[in-house]
Each structure stands twice: as C-alpha cells, then as structure tokens.
Amino acid sequence: MTTAWYVLRRFALLIVSLIVSSALVFLLLRLLPGDLAQAKLGIYGTPEALAQLRTEYGLDKSLPEQYVSWLSKAVRGDLGLSVLTGADITSELLGKATVTLPLIGIASVLAVLIAVPLGMLAALRFRKWDGVATSAVSQLGIAVPTFWIGVILITIFAVQSQIFPSGGFPYDGWSNFGEAMKSLVLPACTLALAQGAVLMRFARSATIDVIQQDYFRTARATGLSRAGALRVHGVRNALVPVVSVLGMQISTLIVGAIIVESVFALPGVGQMLLQDVNIRDYTKVQGTVAATTALVFVVSFLIDLVLGLLNPRMRQR
C-alpha cells in the first residue's frame, strides 16, 4: 500500500466521521424538549409570529431537510444564526478561537517538550532514585485536576510574585501582543503540565521499550553511552507513541482549554460555550460543538499523516 493510498483511505474515514458526528450533534439538540421558537418569543408568541419565526429559521421543515441545509451551509463556513440572540455563530466562534487556538497550540508543544525528556530520564534512571521520583511525580500529575494546577500557578506566579496576570485577556486582543502573550503563559503552562503528566508515562514506556531493543545494543556496541544511544535512536522512537497519544488526546486538550479558560477568565471558545449553556442557546452550542468535533477529527487525521512520515513502515500498511 503506497503512501497515496494510505492518505486516501484516512481521508475517506475522516469524511465519514465528520458526517456521522455532525449528524449526531444535530440530532441531539433538535430532539430537545421545548420549542425553539416558543423559547425565543416567550409571551409574545402569537401564532403568526411563531410561524414566521419558524419559517425564517427553517424549523418547519423535516429533520433530515434541516440537517442537510445546515450541513451544506456549515461546510462552506456558515454556521447560521443563533435562534436565541440572532448573532452570527461563525464570526463569534472565530473571534473566540483567536484566544483558544493559540492556547492549545502552545500548550501542546510545551506538553511534548516536558513529556519526552522527562519520560526518557525516568526510563534511563529506571531503578535509581531520580527515575522513581520522576515517575511518582507523573502519577501525581495525572491525579491532580487541571483546574487545581491552574489555581496553584496563579497562587505562586500571579498572587505571590505578581509576574503574570491572574486572569483575563487584554481588551484590544492580539494588537497588544505583549500583554496577550503574558495572559496566555500561565494558562498554557497549566494545560501543558496536565497533558505532560499523561504523555510522560507513554514516553517513559516507549523509551524502556527502546532500551530493550536489539538495535539499542548495537548502538551501544558502536561506542555510545546509554544517554547517547537514546539521543540518536531513542528520541524518534519515543516520539511516535507520544505524538499518537497526543492526537488521541486532542479532545482532552479541548476540554482542558475549556477548564483553563474558566480558571483564568479567558474570553475563548470554552468560556463562550459555558455561557451559552447557561442561557440555553441551543443552536449556538450545536454549532460550536459541531465545529469543535470537526476540528478534533481533522487534527487527528493530520497527526496520522505526521505519524506516517515518522514511521516509514506505516506507509506500507
């Protein structure tokens, strides 16, 4: 199976997943108790007004018809208008994404930078005290709730030492680059630490695997020290499971972003989602969740491609 065939197959899977998941989300929210039009108009809901509203939002059509029309607009980037507030879902989402996406991106990179070296260290010093200690720390890291990590970081770096802001994002957004970055440091570190703890275990077991391989012994026979042999042969091999787990963890990262945005009061997608849930803005929630799920699938597709690059044997499968 050549590279092209592999890519094609994964792409087809991606499309199917996107359609199925968006249909599920759509269905879930359309089957709700309560009438959307009624909810919006409340006591002003004369039969004519209700009917007009329904036609306007296409609520009088059948479910499959609604789904298809929603989907056809969605793939073109138009997620429609919120029935409750009339706001354009896509533009609001994009606006908030300028905070959330950089947050997730920086956090992922940091998480890998934390996990791989620490994981390899834990594996190298397998029976020695610093290896055991590192493993214990990662155990702890998995058990600690993300929001607590955030609170602790705020305590140390924001409240006690006043280095970083304890929350919020500059009013003028990214045009104030310095302040914007400062606002993202603690949140990104929080996410990175939470993810890193999980990834570290995989990096560690992958490295232990490498150490037990024959080619590791060959490398040692050529004169490399244990650390040196790991540097030459281990990093790539340790990266493969770490990256693939990271890919599987995208949704956890997104949830983490929601939590972190709440802890640090960042005006991102997560924050927006929680607010919409509070005011029961169903259509907006649906649009956001559908877009997010789509993002998750696309990212994991891309990660699979990267893995195919890292591991040449996978291309042949």
């Binding site: 997943s17 199925v20 998941s21 599920l24 989300v25 879930l28 929210l29 709700l32 108790p33 155990q139 702890l140 998995i142 058990a143 600690v144 709730p145 993300t146 929001f147 607590w148 609170v151 602790i152 705020i154 305590t155 409240v159 006690q160 304890s166 275990r201 995989f202 077991s205 232990i208 949704s251 956890t252 997104i254 949830v255 929601i258 939590i259 709440s262 802890v263 989602l273 929680l274 919409d276 849930v277 509070n278 029961r280 169903y282 929630v285 969740v289 997010t292 799920t293 998750v296 699938f297």
Partner: protein, 273 residues
C-alpha cells in the same frame, strides 16, 4: 499470593480515608456546614476552625467532609452505570457476528472520541446542571471505554480451548458467558472499576468547578474551589483544601487500580506499560 504490594497499600489507605470522610458526614461534622456566620468570613486556619472559614463564615473542614458525599455518590453511581453498560455492550459485541460487531465498534469509537466533559456540557445545556446530569453524562462517556477494553478481553478469552470445548458440547452463548467469560473477566473488571472511579471523580469535580454539577447549597469540592479561588489574595490556603481532598481520592483510586493489577494478574494487558 499477594506479596507486599506498596502501591496497593497506599491506594487502599487513601480510598479508605475518603470513604471514612463520607461515612463521617452522616454522623458528625465539627460545625454545621451550612450555617452562615458573616462575622467569621474568610478567617485563616486556626484552632477553632482547622481549615478556616469561607466567605459566608462557614467552616471549611465541615464542608469538605460533607462535600465528600456529592463527589463519592456521583462517582460511585457513574461507575456503576458505566460498568454495567460497558461490560454488557463489550461482551455482547465480542460475541456477536461480524456484521453486528463492526458498526458497534465504530459507534463506540465515536462516543470515545467525544470527551466526557463536553458531553456533560451539552447535556447540561438541555436539562440544566444537576447531580443526575453529571452522573448520566460521566456514566455514558466512560462506558464506551469500558466496552472497548472488555470487548478485547472477551475476544481473548473466547480463543481459549475450554470455550471451544464448551461450544462443541452444546453450551449456548449465555451459559458460556456465565461460566467462562465472567469469572475470567473478574480481575480485569476490578481494575477497570478503580480506574473508572478515579476518572469519574475527576470529571465530577471538574464539572462542579465549572458550575455544571451539584448545585448549591449542597457543597461539592469542585465548586468550593471555584468559589474560594477569588479569595486567594487573602490567604492562598483556602482553595488548597478542596484540591487536596480531590487529589487524595483520585490518587487513591489510581493507585488502587495499579496495585490491583499488579496483585491479581501481572499478565493482564497493561495499556501504558
């Protein structure tokens, strides 16, 4: 054949500690957790209030003890749901013909891809935040993972000779499940349940931190941390207490699961190692 298993011992002690708090909450707390004392608002830990008081003058220690109820009840209920659902689906899928198995696996994968908390958020959007939406959401979300692991294990069990022999002698599927599959699954189920409990409790505390869990006035650790966070400036120790409570409980279940896995069957498939 249980050797001195340090992980297991620590795990059991920590979980026991949380359970004791839970039981204690029905018998006695130092103060009435819900009693408001505005004049005592936000006092630091002292001999009279070991963990200090919150913004309403309520004793934090008493609230931590009472808060264990929300967390543990949600956790246990969610785990019961996810285990029952997950194991049933897992076994059923593994023993079904191919044409049923494939779409079922696909469905499980899709549910697996959807994160627990996101699912709970969507549900909260519909039904409003409460203990039950949290339990339901966590239970369903976790059942997918339990179903997947169970399915794999059952597939391995089904390959055994004694199963083939049982089939050859005419045993129907249900009997095979009862006499061969379930007993062999037992160890793995215990391990999975511990792991699921840890995740459920983490999820519950996260949901209540976000305001999507047990609503006031019943205290819950996650929500306590959210409200105490604003008062960090006065004394950073306030949000530490609910955090410690959560940490101890989750760590306890994690170590319990790891310890059980070591003790019951070292050849059990380990996802990480």
């Amino acid at each position: 054949m249980m050797r001195g298993n340090r992980t297991l011992t620590i795990g059991i002690s920590l979980v026991a500690f949380s359970l004791m708090m839970f039981l204690l909450s029905f018998i006695w707390t130092p103060y009435d957790p819900l009693e408001i004392n505005p004049e005592l608002s936000l006092t630091s830990p002292s001999w009279s209030h070991w963990m200090g008081t919150d913004e309403n003058g309520r004793d934090i220690l008493s609230n931590i003890v009472l808060g264990s109820r929300a967390t543990l009840i949600t956790g246990v209920l969610a785990v019961v749901i996810c285990m029952l659902l997950g194991v049933t689906i897992g076994i059923a899928t593994a023993m079904s013909p191919k044409w049923v198995e494939s779409p079922a696996i696909f469905g499980t994968d899709i549910v697996l891809a959807l994160p627990t908390v996101l699912f709970a958020i969507v549900l909260a959007a519909v039904y409003g935040p409460s203990t039950y939406t949290a339990v339901f959401a966590i239970g369903i979300a976790l059942s997918a993972s339990v179903a997947q692991v169970t399915r794999r294990e059952v597939n391995v069990i089904l390959l055994a000779d004694y199963v083939t022999a049982a089939r050859a002698s005419g045993s129907r599927n249900l009997r095979i499940v009862r006499t061969h599959v379930l007993p062999n699954l037992r160890a793995s189920l215990f391990v999975q349940a511990s792991g699921a409990s840890a995740i459920a409790i983490l999820a519950e505390s996260t949901l209540s931190y976000l305001g999507l869990g047990t609503p006031p006035p019943d205290p819950s650790w996650g929500r306590m941390m959210a409200s105490l966070q604003q008062y960090l400036i006065i004394d950073p120790i306030f949000p530490l207490w609910p955090g410690l409570a959560i940490l101890i409980t989750v760590l306890g279940f994690n170590l319990l699961g790891d310890g059980l896995r070591e003790a019951l069957d070292p050849t059990l498939r380990r996802d990480v190692e």
